[in-house]
């Protein structure tokens, strides 16, 4: 299932009432909440931990209701101690627990960067497989709402160079739930990125337990002329840009990475080889980011099938300003992706 599959069926007067009631459009945040609830019921060794996540349910309400259901031992509020939050998860995971941490804003991960990079990501390797780190770090990332320099960043680039960490980045509520459940099941440590601009997006999310595989991209829209590789908020933007391009007779394929590390190179390279024209879109600054990695890999491995250079759409090489018009300049949008598609289509 992908975002493209989840367009709401039109409610007409002829739709029987019961069928209409079964249509369950839920928000991204609610889908995540569902996943946490189902996972806590499944795994006795799971607990959730973070700042203001218990009674308050977290800054974005993702952990709402868990305290009442599972109690304060398993739904654990902490002081502002990001390193201790992740260290606690690491230590508990070393003895077989399955913790899920919430770092309120991804920007604050700088406070526990050492724990993630030098401890969590390396635990399995450096001690020769004697420990596992089955923990999930959920965090709210991304801009577009006037959050300013410390509440808006896309941090995947900070971790792309870190072997051992899995980076999961859903673009829609259905994947968000399935990927979170798969992340909690995983015996590898997962950095689970929740783009704030997607929190209110809605879709028909199956109420039952299901997982969406890690490390597998999805074709969010099929096309033949240009491939756009994207993740998180760039996916709905790419889908909008693809719809506009279709009006101009350009058929765009959108690859939703879903897992950023290790990413699904087979799907990306197959699509790039098929269309021969590629746009990679990500919200973070260009240098050393996801777009740089994808562009390099596609250029190396699909060189003879490419009809022109890979076109990159990224954030500008600046911090993120508070002013919304300035932020609009700095962050990439649908128009930037549309322009990149038009450029690639010329090749």
């Amino acid at each position: 299932m992908t975002a493209a599959d989840t367009a709401t069926p039109k409610r007409t007067a002829r739709t029987p009432r019961k069928a209409r009631d079964r249509v369950r459009k839920v928000a991204f945040t609610r889908a995540l909440n569902d996943a946490l609830d189902l996972a806590m019921a499944k795994h006795d060794e799971m607990f959730v931990i973070g700042e203001d996540i218990a009674e308050m349910g977290g800054d974005f309400g993702v952990t709402k209701g868990l305290l009442a259901k599972y109690g304060p031992e398993r739904v654990r509020d902490t002081p502002l101690s990001e390193a201790a939050i992740i260290g606690t998860c690491a230590g508990a995971a070393m003895v077989g627990m399955r913790p899920v941490a919430e770092i309120m804003f991804a920007d604050f991960i700088a406070e526990c960067y050492d724990q993630v990079v030098n401890n969590v990501a390396k635990l399995h390797y450096m001690f020769d497989g004697q420990f596992k780190a089955p923990l999930v770090i959920r965090t709210a990332c991304g801009g577009g709402f006037g959050g300013g320099p410390h509440h808006s960043q896309s941090v995947e680039g900070w971790f792309l160079n870190v072997p051992g960490i899995v980076i999961v980045a859903p673009s829609n509520p259905i994947d968000a739930k399935g990927l979170l459940l798969a992340s909690i099941d995983s015996d590898d440590p997962v950095l689970f990125l929740e783009h704030k601009a997607l929190y209110r997006s809605r879709a028909e999310v199956p109420p039952e337990y299901y997982t969406t595989p890690l490390g597998a991209a999805a074709i969010a829209r099929e096309g033949t002329d240009v491939t756009v590789v994207a993740a998180m908020r760039m996916v709905p933007m790419a889908l909008d840009a693809a719809a506009k391009a279709a009006d101009d007779g350009i058929s765009v394929e959108v690859v939703d990475l879903r897992t950023i590390r290790p990413y699904d190179a087979a799907t990306v390279l197959a699509s790039a080889s098929k269309t021969g024209r590629v746009v990679v879109a990500n919200e973070a600054p260009r240098i050393g980011g996801l777009g740089a990695e994808l562009s390099a890999r596609i250029s190396e491995e699909c060189f003879s099938q490419l009809r022109g250079p890979v076109v990159r759409v990224d954030g500008l090489d600046t911090p993120i300003p508070f002013s919304v018009p300035l932020e609009d300049i700095v962050l990439p949008g649908t128009d930037d992706i549309a322009a990149a598609i038009a450029t690639a289509a010329q090749y």
Binding site: P79, G87, A90, G91
Partner: protein, 325 residues
């Protein structure tokens, strides 16, 4: 303390000393890669801790803790020689040579591994302790850190969280007077770390880390306190390390002379034992036995094979393979 216990601790301290002296020699010969930090002069603190920790407890050893790693192997049915082999980077090491001196772990004997980013496991220890508490296990989770590491933010985050959650953590701070070169009183608000700990509101105690009887007794009561569910305990061991800055010496000559000649923990324990009637020959025999044992471990390490090349890319992820060259 019974004489037999003291003799056992004397033996343990000699094991540490022989280990570190043998290691120093092999390091100088170029047989040990990387960096060398030794626990020489601090044997009493490590012997006291090792004595009271069970295999079901957890300890996070610091960069001078080869000795406690080896003692844990001996006490809990492991192989001390595998601790030595790890330092040589060999396939027979506790981490197949992937960890080395600064990342040796063996959970079977309670050793949860050093972290060369000093003090980072001050946070990790919380999780191990929390899990024990949630599961109702009477386990102790111990973090061993130096005085310099008190400067880390995680030190304070850890003490605060252990306090609010009443976690079964034993903090063992080895105050040997210096970080690398920074004297403890210049680097911290107090040269007595326990003064800084008091605000967190749990039990703490400063002990003479070169007096094995005092150190052992303090660890004994701290561990008992924690096992009874009474929450965390902070022990500060005042001691002194024989190693200067890596191989060089930077401390005043009189200070070096005092600690090495008058405050050597093994010498002090030997004097106590002699005072209780243990024959000089018996003490001498302990030293010889331990030195002989360590030579066997070194020979084992030297003869062991290098790690399997497949280990270079093994265990990056549980769920994915990583390409080799």
């Amino acid at each position: 303390m019974e004489t037999s216990t003291l003799l056992g601790l004397y033996r343990d301290m000699w094991l540490i000393r022989a280990f570190e002296q043998g290691l120093e020699r092999e390091f100088e010969k170029g047989n040990v890669p990387g960096m060398l930090h030794t626990g020489l002069g601090q044997e009493a603190t490590q012997a006291a801790l090792a004595w009271h920790l069970k295999a079901t407890d957890t300890f996070f050893p610091d960069h001078r803790c080869h000795g406690i790693n080896a003692l844990a192997q001996q006490r809990h049915g492991g192989d001390g020689e595998r601790v030595m082999a790890e330092l040589f980077g060999k396939a027979t090491g506790v981490c197949s040579g992937k960890g080395g001196s600064l990342h040796s772990a063996d959970p079977a004997v309670g050793n949860f591994g050093d972290n060369a980013v000093e003090g980072s496991y001050m946070a990790t220890v919380l999780g191990v302790a929390l899990a024990a508490k949630m599961r109702g296990q009477p386990n102790v989770a111990c973090a061993i850190i130096g005085d310099g590491t008190v400067g880390r933010g995680e030190f304070h985050e850890s003490l605060n969280m252990a306090a609010i959650w009443d976690l079964p953590v034993l903090y063992a701070c080895i105050n040997n007077g210096y970080a690398i070169s920074m004297p403890v009183g210049e680097g911290h608000a107090s040269a007595d770390i326990v003064d800084m700990v008091q605000g967190y509101g749990f039990s703490s105690q400063q002990v003479d880390g070169n007096d094995i009887v005092e150190a052992w007794t303090a660890v004994s009561s701290a561990v008992e306190h924690i096992r009874s569910g009474a929450g965390p305990y902070f022990l500060e061991f005042k001691t002194w390390r024989w190693q200067g800055i890596f191989a060089g010496e930077f401390r005043p000559e009189a200070e070096v002379k005092y600690w090495k000649e008058e405050r050597d923990p093994i010498m002090l324990a030997g004097e106590t034992l002699a005072g209780r009637g243990v024959a000089p020959n018996d003490l001498e025999a302990v030293e010889q036995e331990m030195t002989g044992l360590i030579e066997e471990w070194i020979a084992f390490a030297l003869e062991s094979p290098e790690p399997d090349p497949a280990k270079a890319t093994a265990d990056v992820y549980v769920g994915w393979e990583v390409d080799s060259r």
